[in-house]
Symmetry: D5
Subunit: 151 residues, 10 copies
């Protein structure tokens, strides 16, 4: 790994005050000539409801096919943590995370699944990808089990 990724790994870092202040680091893909996919699962995501100010929680799964850059995993963690005191609707928040990663990584392709905890008995899931899955790349199903209530 290269650039700022290696310097961040192993240090404790403060949570950025907002998504805008968070810095997404990237490192050069050591296999830039090879097409493959990477998945991150973030079951520890929380933000605030912009109307009521109440906490929201989500289980996020992000798949992407890098071109030149990989996301540095610790900076990704801090970026996601920066939503902790940030107000955002479910649909908007999920898509925004994807768009931020796309802007920074310029990947061949990216997909996000946002699996939000229920509100009023009804959870919302948001499914976004930048376009059709690229030919010849293997992208397994995210396979998050559906919400089922009780029983």
């Amino acid at each position: 790994m290269s650039e700022d990724g290696a310097t961040m790994l192993g240090r404790a870092s403060a949570i950025p005050a907002s998504p805008e202040e968070a810095v997404l680091d990237r490192v050069r893909d050591p296999h830039a000539a090879i097409r493959y996919a990477v998945r991150f699962v973030a079951p520890e995501f929380t933000s605030l409801c912009p109307v009521t100010g109440q906490p929201d929680f989500a289980h996020l799964v992000i798949d992407y096919v890098p071109r030149e850059w990989l996301v540095e995993s610790k900076s990704l963690k801090l970026y996601l943590a920066s939503f902790r005191n940030h107000g955002a609707f479910h649909e908007e928040c999920t898509v925004s995370i994807a768009r931020r990663l796309v802007d920074r990584l310029e990947p061949e392709w990216l997909r996000i699944g946002g699996y939000w905890y229920p509100r009023g008995g009804i959870p919302i899931d948001v499914f976004y990808q930048t376009g059709p899955a690229p030919e010849g790349i293997w992208i397994p199903d995210q396979g998050v089990p559906p919400y089922r209530g009780r029983g």
Copy 2:
């Protein structure tokens, strides 16, 4: 089976307007001299929140050790359906169902588990029994899986 149980089985019946109006039928236990346990699972239970008027849903599991009487299963179904337009808090509602059955059936022992769907991200479960499980009777765990959010 005997008394009004046999007459009710196989007929369509109107949902009683309230739990008070519902009639719980009982039939003589054909094995009155034998001590055993019976379990009913009612995953289709709904009532109303007495403060907001919004629907509540629960998965109920009832275990009992009959003495002289069994509950007639169709009247039990109608009794549970009678909560449909009835306002009740989770704790109160669950215990009340148990007490009504105890009054009617005079069982050796009765247990109810009320597994309510989450409100505000937090489900409530209510666990009631009339006393220690009777010696020598087999009462398996209800085994309802815990609520787990998403992911």
Copy 3:
């Protein structure tokens, strides 16, 4: 979010007396230029059998690809609750909910799965979509486990 959505969020509201009386609110898609899918899971749905008057229960999963409008989630909840005292056959009810959403949201595409609780030992599932899933949009399987009886 905009229009009547924001005003409704956080207020208690009465259950509409029938689906016809229920108002489905919509809010502008903040990412109208981006194609993505949204899923709602409603495990707390109940209606009445039009022949016997007995309660029916279903687990509903709705996926859609918005064009200009998102459904406001609280009004969706109230719309679904409005079937509580409404008689409808399984097939008809499931498809009607889809059609009502399509009329109001004019989405690019919509799918509904209605997973009904068993009657007579046999559950009915209803699967409807407005047409082939749109190219390049990711629509995960609904993944509701099949009914399995006991054991």
Copy 4:
């Protein structure tokens, strides 16, 4: 619902003595202009082995895309029950049920999965459909878990 369906719903009926004697009722599809799929799960199916006379058991899942007609669900239940004293090999029995439904309902498409309980340590599953799944209709996987022996 119409025709004989509505009259049968809510009445107890005798099990037909054989599949031939069973009457499959149909009702008009209230959404005849709309293409969708319906699934029935029958985990309570039993027939007899034509060689040994021993009982066989199966878990059946039937998916179909109606054209003009829906199967009336109670008559379907009685039709399946009519195999109780009927001898049939697994492969033949499963396909015959599909063909009988096709003859009566003239659906756009039909699929059956017959998941038979093991004999001699080896279960047989039978998978039949009338042709390729119709374009643009959503037919989820039946998702019956495979037999696994013990452990």
Copy 5:
């Protein structure tokens, strides 16, 4: 194995017309001096509802601690199959099977769990044992997962 057990194993046999006509064979416990438990699982049990004549299905689990006799497994299978055309209520049927085995085997202890398929949305489970589980014998939980409806 001894007595009629060995003669029956490997032959096809007709289903007895009723439980009364079924013969339960027993064989001498080869480890009569040793105290241990045996479990049979019968997921292929069916009988008839004595009121409506409709088929009922159950998943049965039987545990016992033999004294001098083991049940011959093929005769047990035929005995259970003899309920196929026999009318019996859930509670009565389950306890009767236990009592018949107790009379024939004179075991140190016996337990039966009858896990019946739902009727009217509500399954009944029946749990019977002849008395407290004997000291020092290992009787694992039957561990049949609870009924859960849909979703």
Copy 6:
């Protein structure tokens, strides 16, 4: 329900700045003479690591046997949300929540399970109860599946 519980239900409320500022409301147990247990599951709990400032997440399960008072569920939700910007070690945090509830509710008995998300590949679970489970009250296992890594 009584006292401030009923007034809070249905209103949006600000997250308290710290656990100390949070107010735990209580309502009179409508069945004060009856001994039963109540379970809350809070899968949306988050606090901060007091050393690194990084977010921690936990799945909390709280069981208690009320004497005179029930906890008002919305105030419980806000109390738990007040840890959002609060630094606390896993063991201390879990036990503190239990002690605060004990002080306010004076229950007959209380148990908490804190199931924390892994750090350094190793999750910590904390199990506390105020004393032996009271005789004759039914307290089911919390049944949270163990952490299992991948695969």
Copy 7:
């Protein structure tokens, strides 16, 4: 069923000494004009390692689309049992079973999954089919869960 199939069903038969000596019986497909698929699951398969002589175990799943012939299930069971004292490598053994069935049944298509128990901590699975799945025939996933080690 016809030919030797019907004569074998219900008789005990000796295990053939080797796969070569085993006779695979076939019976005419009663629905020869209809295209469908059949699945056999054999979780009780064992052979010997040709190098060490140690037992190997596999869970086999076989799917095929018959043309004129069905395999007689008891002869299939005996054929599989004939590997009991036979040495074979995992890849070779799995493919050979498929080829033997293809030679005997001349099916439209056949698939085998051989899920071998781990050796040295690493299980081998072998996946073979005679060609692309035939158009318009429904072949569900075999759905055998992946090996997962412990935890």
Copy 8:
């Protein structure tokens, strides 16, 4: 490890022709003064039916509390493999394995669960222990899921 245990580990060995010919090696418990339990799971067990000669399969779980001796694991594997061509009834076979281990290891306590694959649709499980579980030793449940048929 000591005695013949260390010499056997890492060598390929022939399967003994019968249980009688198999040699069970033992090694000194390195913690002879400490009381603990050891579990072996053998999902690859097979023997022959003494009446029909057909193969039988079982999933075995053995727990024991050693006193002076541990069983050498490779010799245990070979001992279990020696049943491959040995005829034995389920109950007898399971108990015999336990007794052989008891004779050789003289443990403080031993338990075996034999979970046999179904025959005639009905599996047999055999549960044996040498006496009550010793005080103060932790013996977790074997937790083998019950047989469930299909669906």
Copy 9:
């Protein structure tokens, strides 16, 4: 937390060369007067076989009831990592980890479950505790699912 615990948290540390060289840090229990239990799950444990030198893997679960001291979690992680190049038999290794913790923490009680990956098709589990679980403390089952082979 106090002593060296707080200084270690957040720093990268080298893996100790052997268990003997690893230092187990302890911190004062902030609730020393309160009796509760703590669980660590370590699914990433590996050591070497002392005979063959091959890697072994285990899933470890450790429960303890602290008296005055808690184990500092990062030093526990490093201690467990120190077995990476250390040879140890399964039984000995598991018990040794427990004894080392007992020596350092002087807990009221401690339990360890070592769930080892299979060798030769047979996994070994080791269950040790320092004595009977202390009265009135809640120690949930470790609930690690049993090894099951394939299928």
Copy 10:
């Protein structure tokens, strides 16, 4: 099997000091003319983080379609074990293993899934294949369940 594969099977071998020193043996595909797929699951993989030196763990699944050569399974095991003291980033390590196998086996096609244990609460999965799955070959989903945190 041929070449050095047969000679290695059954012997204990030292772990190679690095991936470079490890020798990947290959054996001739006995079915070279037949196109099929082979899967290896390696749940016991561990390497070191190149920045912190801390151990990393992964669950690896490798699928390939052999042309002329099969990988000899014991040499694969040793090759994977050679990463034990080797530093490698997740993405790089996973792809390198695939490339090494491709160079040695010259398969028609190869896929690898690397399912890494979480770091900082976020696991990384890496999905690589050499190109589109070959037409007409059956490659089942790897089906590794997604990481889910706690609860």
